[in-house]
Symmetry: C3
Subunit: 266 residues, 3 copies
Amino acid sequence: MQNILHLDPLDFPNAVEAVVAGRPLVHCMTNDVVQEITADVLLAAGASPAMVITREESADFCRLADALLINVGTLTPERFQAMVLAVQTAGQCNKPWVLDPVAAGPLPWRNARIEEFLTFRPSVIRANASEILALAGLSKGGHGVDSLDDSADAIEAACALAQQFECTVAVTGPTDFVTDGKRLYAIEGGHKMATLVVGTGCSLSALVAAFCAVLSDRTLATAAALQLAKKAQERARAASRGPGSFHPAYLDALYELSFTEHRHDR
Amino acid sequence: MQNILHLDPLDFPNAVEAVVAGRPLVHCMTNDVVQEITADVLLAAGASPAMVITREESADFCRLADALLINVGTLTPERFQAMVLAVQTAGQCNKPWVLDPVAAGPLPWRNARIEEFLTFRPSVIRANASEILALAGLSKGGHGVDSLDDSADAIEAACALAQQFECTVAVTGPTDFVTDGKRLYAIEGGHKMATLVVGTGCSLSALVAAFCAVLSDRTLATAAALQLAKKAQERARAASRGPGSFHPAYLDALYELSFTEHRHDR
Amino acid sequence: MQNILHLDPLDFPNAVEAVVAGRPLVHCMTNDVVQEITADVLLAAGASPAMVITREESADFCRLADALLINVGTLTPERFQAMVLAVQTAGQCNKPWVLDPVAAGPLPWRNARIEEFLTFRPSVIRANASEILALAGLSKGGHGVDSLDDSADAIEAACALAQQFECTVAVTGPTDFVTDGKRLYAIEGGHKMATLVVGTGCSLSALVAAFCAVLSDRTLATAAALQLAKKAQERARAASRGPGSFHPAYLDALYELSFTEHRHDR
């Protein structure tokens, strides 16, 4: 693997502005727990979320959307069928779609469904280190939905996955890593308080989908989305007392960074 | 259409007090994304929410409730069946029920389900301009769940719908309009920050259901519910930095307006 | 019934520390409305939540978890099947599981499902007074999901249930009561503002599951979990203006009590 890259000073504000200007419609097929925060994160960053979940509509709606999010957190057979129809449509329409393989590793039925999703070639896989290691066959997964592995330990696995499936892979953690198998970006910063607010991880995948909808370089788009989240986490920590007040402060920070302040970064 | 009316100075506090005094039980059959904010909005305004969603119970529970909310946001065939049983019960028991036709327009399966709901004669239809225009056959709908049309452009369509289905129709947006086909109320104020918080629209329909449970004039009840939300949005904006802090501030404002301050408006 | 007991001064900080030290993984099978606050409450108290809901995975995941929560709030036949598989696994593995019989009483289908759950012997039943009275066959239940009965009125019923099913029973309300049929603990304090925030009740049951995962005396564990919530409610009330700001303040308070301040209580 090559040297570790960081985002160019202009890449970040340009990407954030592109989302606000493009207001991409993100079709979210995600788990039951994080629906609200996922929608709120997208809105705060200037994107437009829509949750359409049934197989009668998922392909039709994916055609209208600019990007698709697939998160397997509370997967059921019915949801899986609807998701496959959307994923196939995304492929046919050449729309970016992001796979969030929540809790990959210890559950056989889930692993088999995730493998099916991988055959449809996601544009981006966004996961924690334990999940990425599980996808690469190197680990038995984390502690429920939380990672027990450090993000740096999953770089090699992420790179192998990116090459195998010709996609972008993001491993998020204390430091985030994004790779397409050739380039490797590191995104530092953030705050661990985010790990005490449910959905801050899952909603990253939605943010990545929004950025991929407006930028053709999906690896750069993914790195910029994660950078936005890291910066927002730092502001939120400064403005909060604990995980309860961190949640609204994180949304406020995403909004400020997206709608006003990034314009001064240049 | 007649002149545009505004709520009488006493109508608003009387309506708000009637909700607090009556504590109506609102049976919410709504989408997966907005369940929490819908319940929290009802509680803050003095109503009692309950989500009962399966066909084994939806008719039984509707019999116990004071009003019913039907929101098609994440509709599935199973949820639809359960909703129809509740709607039929509401009709038999002469209980008010509100239809929120989320994303009406671009999705054929959804449109067909919404048309079935319309045959059961909702007491109130609450939607954004794009959805109302779609229901009236005049538009291809909005941008996912967000309106691309101005609320004023949908007044005519709202009036036509109200006459056709003998119900109250509310078009919400920068200015809200409420009509029964004869009277037309306008409700001004509010704040656009609400559009960056998921569920502020959907929960309006729940609030309308609560007000219709305690007031026999459903058009007046609907206008008063929307007035409460507009006033709460204004307060929330003054007390918040962005969409994250707007959400709790909106609930606080609904609570203050409902439980204490409206009493001083007289 | 014996005298009313209160927690020993050291029991509470010891229990809270045991959760933080053990970081128990709580398998939550709960209703659609309270998924987020349930996860956030567990995270703020140092536990690790995971929602796995389908019958293809519920038994497998229960084997990995340290405790199980069953909440029947938005029960469907499919969810019920998946829950039964998890409950059977909890029994086989001798893992604690908590039953939250939301809205027990007025709905025949729900009552029949709750009776089936009771045959699997929950470790703890956590409910409001109306629900406990309904379970004991003494009442027709509450006002939707809210209790119409005072918690003290349900002490006798709670004691009878605890003896019949050889479990711990918690009746929560202005004062909480916890009994195993022999001992009876009372937990005072808290604030009624919590009743205006959806999920503060349901998430208590998740908190009880977390405490039972790390303490062998489940009655003491349950009382300590409820004590934590009461203390957090008092702090949240002092730091909030209404139910909107109460929600993040409650999570902040749980976090502060769990991660820092209880250590000074000794």
